[in-house]
Symmetry: C2
Subunit: 346 residues, 2 copies
DNA sequence: GTCCCGGATGACAACGTTGTCGGCAACGTT
DNA sequence: AACGTTGCCGACAACGTTGTCATCCGGGAC
């Protein structure tokens, strides 16, 4: 423990140092820092100058363990894969909302693994985040009872949680595919195929449901042969698209349930030389979608609104812990470009 | 302060609760939690069971203020815009590396604003992050002296910092554009244009430098009329591309310095009906680039390696604070598709 | 029997902050 | 003159944890 005094400056200055320099008690420094009343202007000024000259910064962490409300001014976010544009865009919106309220965001990717999701939540918990925003993956979010019991609010985004009720923000997935169907129908299409992910994925199920109900509304029923689900990657989607397009009669239009499906399907159309003949509407917008030929008509999710709503809900929940849980549905938007405008007769 | 005892459980259990239940001292609980020696197997077991039955979780934050090393097992990351695929991909890689070492990542977007960058760093600092990874924006990172003085290591990624030396990881930007030039030259191109961002942006300057040196190597000199820089968005890039293509003689190939430039340039080529005639190589890969017609040949950055290297450097720096600063250059990769294969004679 | 040693254990201080409370001076009121 | 009130301020406890240290106990060496 014998150390040269010159090395001492590694430790950042504390309110104690500030107090010594300003010749006041530590509590007075604390009062100034927290804008509490009861400090004379002169003293306040002296403290401020001491803070300035030492380069003092409050230790938020030490502060939070003592504060009554325990707030750390940070929130935790679990997404599926931050490298995914959907996730990063939602994250960015949450960040912005949090930043306005001087909060920081801890982010983790679950990769759809429930165990990882849970681990992340625990890690966030041990850092005392003020709240959690989660894109839930597993079939059971009841582990969150622990967080709730200890006063940490939770908001689900993109999908509702299971076995655990909480504020939730989702896109209007069903309306999106329904709009796609009606858009295509208006251009004369009757044989419309749907390619989607596993039905155990909430969004995939919703999108198929929207597709089905719009088809039933228009045609009495959707032809089952034109509906392929359970496609987990672009390779499977590619194969399914080839199959569906090989049917007789072949569909004149395709609705793709997500990004990966779109990639597989467009590749399939490309191989068949059918990109200009078969109409196609994809769920989720894609960078440069308008540079494709034909430019890709998409159902775009409002990721900014999704993230902002989730963050807003979280902060509102922090202010009103007892209020009833709410569910917000964010509208999606059909962006007409070219691939969705191809008529049935082509 | 009179409260019903039933509401007391909002506070999470502490080692005190665990100690009481296991009938040991708090220090013994601490020893078990930290795998310190000197606890008999029987006691250890009793503590473990108490931890389990109470659902106790360590309060990392309280722990860190007392620990000798002050570690919080979290790091701070400042990117320019997390919604940008480049940033989110790098972030994801950093996350993964950090997660392996049981660290969490706080992320913020600076939007290229030096003030915001600095604010974020301060916020991270007050949360006692163990280290910082920064995509620097301003012309001066000397404010980081404060962090360094207090033992917080810094790593720059994508661009070097200014007025502050630190470990740095960058892509080999110059090699990327040089490779693009050679690739085009091998297909007979002599009149190659370059469209890029402001030269004050490090990556933009490096990319132009690589372009220039390869052109000089091949042709003695790059024709200045074919070089346009200072393009800050796709609209400006669009205009510049139209201009350059209107020259006589017109360039037979285009090298685009970044994503936004690519969007503008491809739109311009589209309008000119020249997408199949003028070769084009873009910096930065794009989702679905291979669905474009012609599929876009790109110089792809290895974002995963960029992020992983930065994280590795940070952790190595934490272990060896005194070691000399290092600079790592990550190779880029030319991904030949179609737009770069168009011959000069087309 | 005495001494020493090492393992196990807990009492207590400390980290940097905020909450509680009491003291002191100045002032106005009886 | 005595009293209460108000504004300002600091001593001290407390948050949940880890670091320091003293203590206790059993066993082996003399």
């Amino acid at each position: 423990m014998t150390r040269v005094d010159g090395q001492d400056d590694r430790r950042a200055p504390t309110i104690k140092d500030v107090a010594a320099l300003a010749e006041v008690g530590i509590k007075t420094v604390s009062r100034v820092l927290n804008d509490e009343p009861g400090v004379s202007p002169g003293t306040k000024d002296r403290v401020r100058r001491a803070v300035e000259s030492l380069g003092y910064r409050r230790n938020t962490i030490a502060s939070s363990i003592r504060r009554r409300d325990r707030r750390t001014a940070s929130i935790g976010l679990v997404v599926e894969d931050l490298a995914n544009p959907f996730a990063s865009s939602v994250t960015r919106a949450i960040q912005d909302y949090a930043a306005e309220r001087a909060h920081l965001v801890l982010v983790g990717s679950s990769d759809g693994d429930p165990a990882r999701e849970r681990t992340l939540v625990q890690e966030f918990g041990s850092r005392l985040v003020d709240g959690l925003i989660i894109v839930p993956s597993g079939a059971d979010q009841s582990y969150l009872d622990y967080e709730r019991a200890h006063g940490v609010p939770v908001v689900f985004v993109d999908r509702p949680g299971r076995r655990f009720k909480a504020d939730t923000v989702v896109s209007d997935n069903a309306a999106g595919t329904a709009a796609a169907v009606r858009h295509l129908a208006a251009r004369g299409h009757e044989r419309i195929a749907f390619l989607g992910d596993r039905q155990s994925v909430y969004t995939a199920a919703q999108r198929l449901a929207g597709f089905r109900s719009a088809m039933e509304e228009l045609r009495g029923e959707a032809d089952r042969r034109y509906v392929r689900t359970g496609l987990r990657d672009s390779v499977q989607a590619h194969a399914a698209a080839l199959e569906v397009c090989g049917l007789d009669p072949a569909p004149t239009a395709l609705v793709c349930g997500n990004n990966l499906v779109t990639i597989g399907a467009v590749h399939a159309l490309q191989e068949l030389g059918a990109r200009d003949r078969v109409a196609c509407i994809a769920f989720d917008d894609i960078e440069l979608a308008d540079l494709l030929r034909p430019a890709l008509t998409v159902v775009a999710q409002d990721t900014a609104a999704l993230g902002a709503s989730a963050a807003r809900m979280l902060f509102e929940r922090l202010d009103a812990p007892g209020a009833p849980y709410r569910r917000t549905t964010v509208a999606v938007r059909l962006v007409p470009r070219e691939s969705g405008e191809i008529p049935a007769s082509a």
